[in-house]
């Protein structure tokens, strides 16, 4: 057996971090991709999450399920910070993008999908995470509550409000492709 690692680290720390990445990378990317605007942002989000773990390895729980919840919460918090910072800018971008897509895009199916994704963009990250976990990942309410560290009642509330906000957005933007 021979190995060279790119950096000098105590082996237990290197093992922990490697295991965290190997075990949770796919799961975090799937969530990040559904929370972030595009694949590049999703990759950055996952990387930033693992970097937080690297900077405070001792605070990551040893139990894999608890570690997953820790990472998910960090990921959602990072996304929330970025979302807050970009909120004003994205409102402007949204207006521009909407005008562009109406003028240029002839593919109604694509527009419909883009509209749904824009609707999701209007949800605050934690609410969006609840909607994504329930609607796209099919997780039970209790699991979502555990992952996000909130009560089941709060999960149900986010889900109800999120669905309502999405429906309202889609209703007001639904016929847009007819104009193309």
């Amino acid at each position: 057996m021979a190995d060279v690692m790119p950096a000098m680290l105590p082996t237990d720390t290197a093992d922990r971090l490697s295991t965290l990445v190997d075990r949770h990378y796919d799961r975090l990317y799937r969530l990040a991709r559904r929370l972030a605007p595009g694949p590049d942002e999703a990759r950055d989000l996952v990387q930033e999450t693992f970097l937080k773990a690297a900077r405070s390895v001792a605070s990551v729980p040893l139990d894999p399920t608890a570690a997953e919840a820790w990472l998910v919460r960090v990921l959602v918090n990072i996304r929330r910070d970025a979302w807050r910072k970009a909120e004003v800018r994205s409102r402007y971008d949204e207006t521009v993008r909407r005008a562009d897509s109406v003028a240029c895009d002839q593919e109604s199916a694509l527009i419909a999908r883009a509209t749904v994704w824009r609707a999701l963009d209007t949800l605050a990250p934690r609410r969006r995470a609840v909607v994504v976990m329930r609607e796209l990942e099919g997780l039970p309410i209790a699991s979502i509550a555990t992952l996000l560290g909130i009560s089941a009642v709060t999960v149900r509330w986010h889900l109800a409000v999120g669905r309502r906000e999405l429906a309202r957005f889609l209703e007001s933007h639904g016929g847009r492709h007819d104009h193309c």
């Binding site: 057996m1 950096a7 000098m8 680290l9 971090l17 796919d26 996952v46 994704w117 999405l166």
Partner: protein, 209 residues
Amino acid sequence: MTTVSDRLRDADPLRDEPARSDAERNRIRAVVLAAAADQLQRTEPMWRGRRAALVTALAVLAILALAAGSRLWSGGGVTVHAAAVRFEVRLAEIAFAPGLRPAPVVGSDRVIYLHPETIVTNDEILRSVVVPNRDGSGFGVAVTFNAAGAENMRRATASHLNAPLALLVDGDVISAPTLRSPISESAVVSGNFTQAEAERIAEGMRVHP
């Protein structure tokens, strides 16, 4: 009638995206390990300060003990020097090409082909400590290079990914791992050393022959 759930599932970007590649996961792993090592190095000066204080205290105790002992026992003194170990890192190939030198990898039936240039030697080693192997199979040596060594390593390894790197001790190739990411400031050299062997190598690396 199409529900919000249906529309969400239809718009899911993961539906049309290719599966994540191992390369991306490996990249993240390398970034994370490098960041953790960087974090460690930044917090280490404090630890080094404490270690220096501890070493000083032990040295004072040792001198006091020697002074006391010399009055009781006048046996001959013994000076122990760490035996120098000649350490080299070279790029290597798995197939022969003109100008390359074949070399067996100790403890295996592999033969690799060494480039003539040496990337780093003992002169570029700042620090070397014994660490247990990641799989618990034995011990290795964690090496930190000085600035010149780190730059040499970075330059050489960045353009040699997925090919072997040869680690030589006293001219023998003790391991020839395949480079998965560039190396610069530090590396962990893990072979199937016993703790005593690893300590001998770690100490010997710090001696400039």
